[in-house]
Symmetry: C2
Subunit: 530 residues, 2 copies
């Protein structure tokens, strides 16, 4: 049931069809046009903003459990540090096995009746089932892997998990602090306190953890495979996450973009260039260069500003904004300017095209991107080395809105390279999955919104974030509502000096670890009562 | 005196002027036109090839010294290995001090009267003077540094200096084996044998060694500064080098191109992009990318094939072929196709523009290059990391023919970037020096040619190679004739698996270590007798 009284029906006709090849759809509210920048632009109806203030704050009180959390906070922090001090860099196969064992041991200690390592063709998954004999079942998605690190860029070593002073308060600094070990272990802390006080949980739990989220979850489907029938019986899926800004504002989202991640590699060969190894740089006078070849091929892919793809069909197939999405976006734009906080946090001087908040939200939600995550060739160290390299590689990704299939997307890029004489350039797919979307009108989301209102005032809910996660496994495959949720503040995911706030400073309204855990307790009870 | 009887005067007028901005000089022999590829093309008069067979082979015999070399060959090989096992990577400041000390100790042991470490603003130089009371003085240029290594690419560890089986025979494999420790230490072995047998040398020696050749010799002028007046009294400069192919052919050269080496760095800033650190890759939807910025700026620099620079004035100022150069090139093109050996050695499938030998020689000798030695941004490891990098860097070099000044060259590139809206892209000069040229009509070169004919048949002499070295210090500053010279075969300079041939296999006609040293003995006597 759709609970928002302000959101009934938009007064205008919506464009429901896929994007036409000509990108020349009719103008009007909710419609799509081609912007001056060459990217599609969807206008939305701003007159039916979703009214979050109508959601009743969660009213349950679980004082004995709250007290248990407060009394055991030191041990709970220790649990986070224990997880964070165990490196688990999936891209480099560092510490994966030990981290999977840590999860297994913790689930067993907590009394989960079933705990299994789940072999996959990649890093292993972990399955855990807690049978509370309850009518409702919550599925929990976890990832136990983290991004790689450049230790020299960190103020405190990335696997020390030291408590550091942050402007927002005392925080744990570590790779994985907020993405995603910190909030996940906080969620388990909350479960431990419920079980300690009540003897069991008010809902059954099914946990599926994977060790390859940062690789694009290539084998997570194999974990789902094994438990698919049982997972389909769950009532919804949560992914524990720190979702507050330091000021306590909370921006929720009900979906993620998909992703395609690939490498382009130019190598010397029949077309020219050194073939088997680098060669002395002076031979550039007589030889083609694979680096120039990659650079010239890459340059063809975008407009001169690097922001619009030249690949035919790149922007086709985007599913235009639904009524619900328009309502959510209209409401979110009435609230605090979330992008402004990002701008401050990262010291950014200028948004792309000097876009205004509405444009930014629309680009983040609906536009497929074309990003170079990394590029390398030849000598990349200090000083000089004079060589003509024999290969050059770019690591690239596209974040894909609802409607764009990753394999079709890559096929368009491949075809464009071929059509421009770059058939020799290798396109190596590393990952790809589609977007995922959950409706605000589900018990899961409404439970989270009620608890959010209790602790953090009125939330802002975006239909989707610009980032990616393999949530299509839940929404598209298992047909379950799914949402990342939780209080607290973190920063530095995929970057140096990643932190999770533990003890807020004076003037910081984001939740500390104790309040994060209490909110998870409330959420579980809210869901059980629904 | 110009000794080649076949080379008197070219029948046609030569273009002596610098290149006109329009690149539309008169057609005709020795003249310059603009090729279809957009690069200047000089035609040369092929009717007066230099006649090397007219040079009388060196006739001196120094049997006692030759015998000393043969009897001490094991120790001589040990000397090479001792140098090669001492890493001295200038770009990474690895082993520099220890290597400089090795030189100092060796010169002292050999009886040089003056041996000094020469402090510079970079790595130290080494000066050594051997006063033989002789009328002639030979200056020896040495470099004791080597290129960086990727040990995982090597068949034998780069600082083991192991004797390996190579198709051409037994060879020492090590970084620096042929570039340049091997031939330099072989030259010193020859001196040791002369001194051991004769008690002294037939010429005085001035040695200036630097530890920054692979960095572009930024501080070598400071070493020259200290001894300039004395160095000007020398009769010529030799740079010991392995100059034979496995088949024994010897290709000499009397000059080098200059070089400019620089980095281009795009960073986020006022124009857009992340500023202080990388940011989650999903923000590409809202932010410009410094990597795309660098890629697009680089792409503007060249034609789509990456082989012709679009920078205005890039090809202006090249000094056209002189009479002597035309004669040398005409002769070299009558001999074995040197580029064909390079093609085989490196497994190259296609030359740039499918150029013929004459075009290749002309490009290598007269065309300024635009090469990307390295490029890097963001994540360059295995697997995936999804980031939007805040900076991107390209390492670039141009090899400069006679007539092009490195600083003026860089100014043109800077101006081109500025004119195209890329004033924010940093251009960081790492090195720059002009070309150098010695005439075939000098006692130094004629002595080397005579000895070459004794051991290696008829040489081919190119006016210049496409590579660079700071030889302008000798030719332009000290006004001395200078040439790299020596027998022997090496391979893999600036690449993995660098070797110097020590003991030729059956069917290999290149000199082994003993013959290399005997030829240096002859050269020193030939020079002393001139």
């Amino acid at each position: 049931m759709f609970r928002n009284p302000g959101f009934c029906k938009l007064g205008t006709a919506l464009i429901a069809s896929g994007m036409a090849a000509s990108l020349s759809l009719a103008a009007g509210e909710g419609s799509m046009t081609l912007g001056d920048n060459g990217r599609p632009s969807f206008s939305i109806d701003m007159s039916y903003p979703y009214d979050y203030s109508s959601i009743v704050p969660y009213e349950g009180q679980h004082s004995a459990i709250y007290q248990h959390i407060d009394e055991n906070l030191g041990a709970h922090i220790g649990n986070l540090q224990r997880w964070l001090r165990q490196p688990s860099i999936s891209a480099q196969s560092v510490g994966i096995d030990d981290m999977a064992n840590l999860l297994v041991d913790d689930f067993r200690d907590m009394g989960f009746q079933e705990v299994e390592r789940v072999p996959t063709d990649g890093h292993p998954g972990v399955w855990a089932y807690y049978d509370a004999g309850a009518p409702k079942t919550l599925m929990v998605y976890m990832m136990y892997d983290v991004q790689p690190v450049n230790p020299e860029d960190w103020q405190s070593p990335p696997f020390d998990a030291a408590m550091v002073d942050h402007p927002a308060g005392k925080a744990i600094m570590a790779r994985g602090a907020t993405n995603q070990k910190g909030p996940q272990r906080a969620f388990l802390n909350a479960l431990e306190s419920i079980i300690a006080v009540e003897g069991t949980l008010p809902v059954n739990l099914m946990i599926t953890a994977e060790g390859e989220e940062e690789l694009g979850s290539p084998h997570y489907p194999q974990i789902i495979d094994k438990y698919e029938d049982r997972l389909r019986t769950a009532d919804g899926v949560i992914f524990p996450m720190n979702m507050q800004s330091p000021s306590g504002d909370i921006n929720l989202f009900l979906g993620v973009k998909g992703i395609a991640y690939w490498e382009l590699e130019a190598r010397g060969g029949k077309w020219g260039g050194p073939v088997t190894s680098e060669i002395h740089g002076s031979y550039k006078a007589a030889l083609d260069s694979p680096v120039w070849r990659l650079v010239q091929a890459l340059a063809l892919l975008t407009t001169p500003d690097g922001n619009t793809a030249n690949v035919p069909g790149f922007y086709e197939g985007i599913r235009p904004p639904t009524e619900e999405e328009q309502s959510l976006i209209a409401a979110s734009l009435q609230g605090a300017n979330r992008m402004s906080a990002v701008k401050d946090a990262f010291g950014i001087e200028r948004w792309m095209d000097d876009a205004d908040p509405e444009q930014l939200v629309m680009e983040m939600t609906y536009t497929p991107t074309l990003n170079i995550d990394g590029i390398y060739a030849g000598y990349t160290g200090e000083g000089m080395k004079t060589i003509l390299p024999h290969k050059a590689t770019a690591k690239m990704d596209s974040r894909l809105p609802v409607g764009i299939d990753p394999d079709e997307h890559l096929a368009k890029i491949r075809a464009f390279l071929d059509a421009n004489g770059y058939a020799d350039i290798l396109l190596r797919k590393l990952s790809g999955y589609p977007a995922a979307q959950t409706s605000v009108d589900t018990a899961l989301v409404q439970a989270a919104l009620g608890v959010t209102r209790k602790y953090a005032g009125t939330p802002s809910v975006n239909p989707r974030i610009a980032g990616s996660a393999p949530f299509y496994q839940f929404t598209e495959r298992l047909k379950l509502p799914m949402m990342p949720w939780g209080l607290g503040y973190g920063n530095g995911a995929h970057a140096p000096n990643e932190i999770m706030l533990i003890e807020p400073a004076e003037g910081t309204d984001a939740a500390g670890l104790a309040e994060i855990e209490k909110a998870y307790v409330d959420f579980i009870y809210a869901l059980s009562a629904d």
